[in-house]
């Protein structure tokens, strides 16, 4: 089912999203990948504040290519989410509402999604040029020294994603592949 929603959003909206829904996101999302997650995790361990208020926000696992003149961003597709599995449960506990990435998640992440009424979206991997067209503006807000891995605040309009793991823990990667698997003779 196609849905249009505004980001950030709360627990109620998250619970309405179901595995397999095709969703267009408009509003504000934040980027962070391996190095930024490691740094945020270390900040939390030392009792420091995160560089942005994570409550109800969506983190896009993405490190863009450089923007050409006149464009907000370069190519901007999702990176493999499982590399952030170590850090995601702690952030979901703090109220992070969801993530956009690609690929499988650990059981610990799935449980944290259920517990915190969150959602895991996939964007189409390897479609970075297409996805960049749904990004209206981009601004580095933290960890500038990390280059492509810095935390960016993105304004998006109709950014296309698919609900993979919903707040009940249903996982599209498992159900969809089973639906199309053909038994070998």
């Amino acid at each position: 089912m196609d849905k249009h929603i505004t980001v950030p959003f709360g627990e109620k909206e998250a619970r309405e999203l179901k595995s397999g829904d095709y969703v267009y996101l408009s509003g504000i999302i934040y980027t962070a990948r391996d190095a930024a997650h490691k740094r945020m995790y270390e900040a939390l361990e030392q009792g420091e504040e995160l560089p942005f208020d994570i409550r109800n926000n969506i983190i896009y696992y993405m490190g863009p290519s450089p923007a050409r003149e006149g464009r907000p961003i370069g190519s901007a597709g999702p990176t493999t989410a499982s590399r952030m599995d170590k850090y995601a449960p702690a952030l979901l506990e703090l109220g992070q509402r969801g993530m956009i990435g690609k690929g499988k998640r650990s059981e610990a992440v799935r449980q944290a999604i259920i517990k915190n009424n969150a959602v895991y979206f996939a964007a189409v991997g390897g479609a970075g040029a297409l996805l960049s067209k749904a990004i209206v503006s981009s601004e580095v807000i933290a960890y500038d020294d990390l280059g492509t891995e810095a935390i960016r605040r993105l304004e998006v309009k109709d950014f296309p994603v698919i609900v993979v793991i919903d707040s009940e823990g249903n996982n599209l990667y498992e159900t969809a592949a089973k639906a199309y698997a053909e038994l070998e003779a």
């Binding site: 597709g77 990176t79 499988k104 390897g126 970075g128 040029a129 053909e182 070998e184």
Partner: protein, 280 residues
Amino acid sequence: MRTIHVDEVIKNVKEMCIEANHFLTEDMDMALTKAGKTEKSPLGKQILGQLKENLCIAAEDMIPICQDTGMAVVFVEIGQDVRIEGGLLTDAVNEGVRQGYIEGFLRKSVVKDPILRENTKDNTPAVIHYDIVAGEKIKITVAPKGFGSENMSRVFMLKPADGIEGVKNAILTAVKDAGPNACPPMVVGVGIGGTFEKCALLAKQALTRPVNQHSDIPYVKDMEEELLCRINKTGIGPGGLGGSTTALAVNINTYPTHIAGLPVAVNICCHVNRHCVREL
């Protein structure tokens, strides 16, 4: 004896890095179009359509096809009657990569040390494989490799008794484990034989062979066809979201090996299977 100046190498490598990251080869484009027609899942069809649209936007607006513009893998076949002048060939290849990634607005994804992880900021060094061949030309293949799929690649040191079934199972295992992580539809490069490192190199080279061209060894061609069919029955589908297009091709290269061994490498590549070839 023919002399080639390093400036010629720099210029071509630079252009090839930019070209490979914005334009796929025609065989890849055709394979994606064909998949869009045969895909059984409506969502899978929609995703394949988006991948085609993505290729058009990349080419028209000069936005890299994928933000992971890869680590530059460069194959250099040097004719033994060529003399290089003006500097070291390796330095020239790296300079070409440096210029290509900076001037082409490509992402710098290389860290100087695997543990300390400080970005080199120009995507160098490249991973360069040299081969000395007959003649007085240099053939350069630039194949930027993204790591979503590279991370899902495997080496299996099988026993001779495992035979061809063991090889097929190894390939299927690698593909199933990769699943949605490797950005399917994938291209599966396989190396069978040689040694531990040789089979990995064979697998990488197999990815640069056109996806509509089979091995000329009859049993290998049969295996390529059979495995593609079986991989597409796993149900993984485009984006891993279910469907009948999980791979676009299985390319297998072989090499003689030891009486005690049967090494198999599976180098998985996403649908952005980039390579660009030039002869100087």
